[in-house]
């Protein structure tokens, strides 16, 4: 806010007040004591609103609440016109007499946004101002001056003319309009409170309370005025009560500002919390606490991906601009670092949101880097899993091709040889018969080798019958005795079964080829959502976990988020253990 404008407005309010005081002191037309109190109270309300309004205006220049408060204060100063005992003074006062209340009602209806956000609010504001000067003009034209304001009023400028028979009816309609406006304002306040989120209610509470009491008082007074014809003492009592509350109302607003200052101390608490080491996700909780918005979400910008991710590195879409969530982008210089997705009510206090974001900026940047690393790890993990999956699919395809292609053709060849052999009668051509027998034997060897090769590429029994039979078959074909101590009773996800099988077959191959084992035990058991595969042998030990076979096995197990352990002390056998999560 421009300091000169602020000074000018403050001086205007001061001058208006002083003029009012001077008028009060310099004029004496036998006014009643309550009126003096009323005018003093009006002066208090005027200054109170202007002062609080200027503070609010400078704190939130973009929000029109402060400007509206100043307008309320200045409008109240117009009440001094009532002291000018001339027809012109009275007429001018009467025309603008309801303006202070109208500006105030406008302020209450749009607080804390400073502008109408619903159609009902816009309708109310329009009706509210229509009921000020235009309605006063109608009254001046149609109602006897004596009916308008009791004993002290001189005839107004327009108070010349004949009889006005509709005076009572006009006053009754004016009273009803006041009641309707009071009820409408009450309705707006109740609806706004009911629809408000927790942070918004914190802002509304100190002001809404006074506003609702004021609206009730206005409505009651207007109702009484409509029913009972000008009950002067009661009227003055209501006015005093209302003005007292009005003087407190800006103070209530300042109390709200003090609450925001308390929030500044929450920013201090946040700074202390951030200095301590926080696990992922705790920063989000700390920010939610500091901003009193438990729904707050913190997401991090990954420039490489052009996307936001959460603390765990998972991609997140920001909500649409005009939705029920607001987004504050946290920047480092011009570069976005993160975004806070929060209640739109926090937009009412952008300074606090900025202060919290600035306080947490370093930590946010650190967490962003961590989230980036986690996102990369997640990508690497997923990519490794995809590679293993692709490899397995390829193995299945190659095995199937062998089965349907080369193996089938060799089988046909074997049958053809069998037919040829059966047609060579015994003793007719012994050499041919012997050659055919030899060819058949050789072909059988080739087929056996081809079957072994295909089985090594992908064991069909694993897909056909599951891990248990596959391990039993592995044990049967082994050249050293293998005991299968335990197998899972049910089928497991294919990737888990395949990995478990390859762990067992690789460990068995090592035991047979390199360790000189004479006995091997294989077990595969379900344990707390994991499959525990153990292969132990009585060989020479000393297996190298970094050897290509075991290294590849460890990679395959890690692709499933599992872990492989090799325990192979020299001379004391080898135990290979794989823990495989079964959630795949």
């Amino acid at each position: 806010m421009n300091p000169r404008l602020r000074l000018a407005l403050a001086l205007a309010a001061l001058a208006g007040g002083l003029v009012n005081l001077a008028l009060l002191l310099l004029t004496d037309h036998g006014r009643s004591e309550p009126l003096v109190y009323l005018l003093l109270a009006i002066l208090g309300v005027s200054w109170s609103f202007v002062a609080a309004g200027l503070v609010a205006w400078s704190r939130r220049p973009r929000n029109r609440t402060g400007a509206l408060m100043v307008a309320v204060g200045l409008a109240f100063a117009l009440n001094g016109l009532r002291l000018v005992d001339t027809p012109l003074g009275f007429t001018l006062w009467f025309l603008v007499a309801t303006l202070p209340a109208a500006v105030l009602a406008h302020l209450i209806a749009v607080f804390p946004d400073g502008h109408p956000t619903t159609r009902l609010q816009r309708v109310f504001i329009a009706a509210n101002y229509a009921a000020t000067v235009p309605l006063a003009l109608v009254q001046l034209l149609l109602v006897e001056p004596a009916q308008l304001d009791c004993d002290i009023c001189p005839d107004g400028l327009l108070g010349i003319g004949g009889a006005r028979p509709y005076g009572d009816a006009v006053l009754a309609v004016v009273g009803l309009i006041d009641v309707a406006l009071g009820l409408l304002l009450l309705w707006i306040l109740v609806a706004r409170w009911r629809g408000a989120s927790r942070p918004r209610r914190r802002i509304l509470a100190p002001v809404a309370l006074v506003g609702m009491v004021l609206a009730v008082l206005y409505a009651i007074r207007a109702a009484l005025l409509a029913v009972v014809s000008r009950p002067a003492p009661l009227d003055v009592g209501f006015d005093l009560a209302i003005l007292t509350l009005l003087m407190l109302w800006p103070l209530g607003f300042l109390a709200g500002l003090a609450r925001i200052r308390l929030d500044r101390s929450a920013v201090g608490d946040l700074a202390i919390q951030l200095s301590e080491t926080q696990p992922p996700g705790r920063l989000e909780q700390a920010l939610a606490r500091a901003l009193h918005d438990p729904t707050l979400k913190l997401v991090y910008w990954l420039p490489d991906r052009h996307a936001f991710v959460d603390a765990a590195g998972r991609q997140v879409e920001l909500p649409a601009a005009a939705g029920d969530r607001a987004v504050t982008i946290v920047r480092h210089g011009d570069t976005p670092v993160a975004a806070m997705v929060h209640d739109p009510a926090l937009d009412d206090d952008p300074e606090l949101v900025r202060a919290v974001a600035a306080t947490a900026q370093m930590t946010i940047e650190n967490e962003r880097l961590q989230a980036e690393v986690r996102a990369q790890l997640e990508e690497v993990r997923a990519s490794r899993a995809r590679i293993v999956e692709f490899g397995d699919a390829e193995r299945r395809r190659v095995e199937r091709n062998l089965h349907d292609g080369a193996q089938q053709r060799l089988v046909n060849l074997s049958l053809a040889l069998g037919i040829a052999r059966s047609q060579v009668g015994t003793g007719s051509d012994e050499e041919l018969a012997a050659a055919l027998d030899e060819a058949a034997t050789e072909l059988r060897r080739v087929l056996t080798e081809l079957r072994e090769l295909a089985r090594g590429i992908h064991p069909v029994i694993l897909t056909e019958a599951g891990l248990g039979p596959a391990l039993a078959s592995l044990a049967e074909r082994s050249s050293v005795p293998v005991a299968v101590a335990a197998v899972p009773p049910d089928r497991l996800p294919p990737r888990v079964e395949e990995t478990a099988y390859y762990v067992a077959s690789e460990a068995l191959a090592n035991a047979t080829k390199h360790a000189g084992a004479t006995a091997v035990t294989i077990s595969a058991r379900r344990l707390d959502g994991e499959l525990l595969v153990e292969v132990s042998d009585d060989g020479v030990g000393g297996a190298n976990p970094e050897g290509s076979g075991l290294r590849g096995l460890a990679d395959r197990v890690a692709a499933l988020d599992g872990c492989l352990r090799v325990d192979s002390p020299a001379g004391a056998g080898t135990r290979i253990t794989a823990e495989l999560p079964c959630a795949w």
Partner: protein, 123 residues
């Protein structure tokens, strides 16, 4: 069986194999009464042809040989089912026993004698 040739249905999706098997087994004393290229055709053919033996490949294009064997076991004809495959018996585990087939012969070891030995095993 001593007087009449045992009848046989060959079920395999490879035409060349069916043709060779027919020649081999006919020469070996079987009467091949039909051929089927997939599981459903086999199930449809058995009640009509009423073969003594069904030579059944495990890897078929529609349903696998185990399912065909199980369905034939539940049918009226109840032929003797002999499973065959390019793969080894060990590649299929306990399903070979469970499906109700009389036995398993690797395709490259297929012969009239091998089938007879299975038929003779239980009478």
């Amino acid at each position: 069986m001593a007087l009449m040739k045992p009848t046989l249905l060959i079920v395999d999706d490879h035409a060349a194999f069916r043709s060779l098997a027919r020649r081999l087994l006919t020469a070996g004393g079987f009467e091949v009464v039909g051929e089927a290229a997939d599981g459903h055709a086999a199930i449809a053919a058995v009640p009509q042809l009423r073969p003594d033996v069904v030579l059944l490949d495990i890897q078929l294009p529609d349903i696998d040989g185990f399912d065909v064997a199980a369905r034939l076991r539940d049918g009226e004809a109840e032929p003797v089912v002999v499973l065959i495959s390019t793969r080894d018996r060990a590649d299929y585990g306990p399903r070979v026993e469970r499906c109700g087939a009389r036995g398993f012969i690797p395709k490259d070891e297929l012969s009239a004698a091998a089938i007879r030995s299975l038929l003779g095993a239980t009478g």
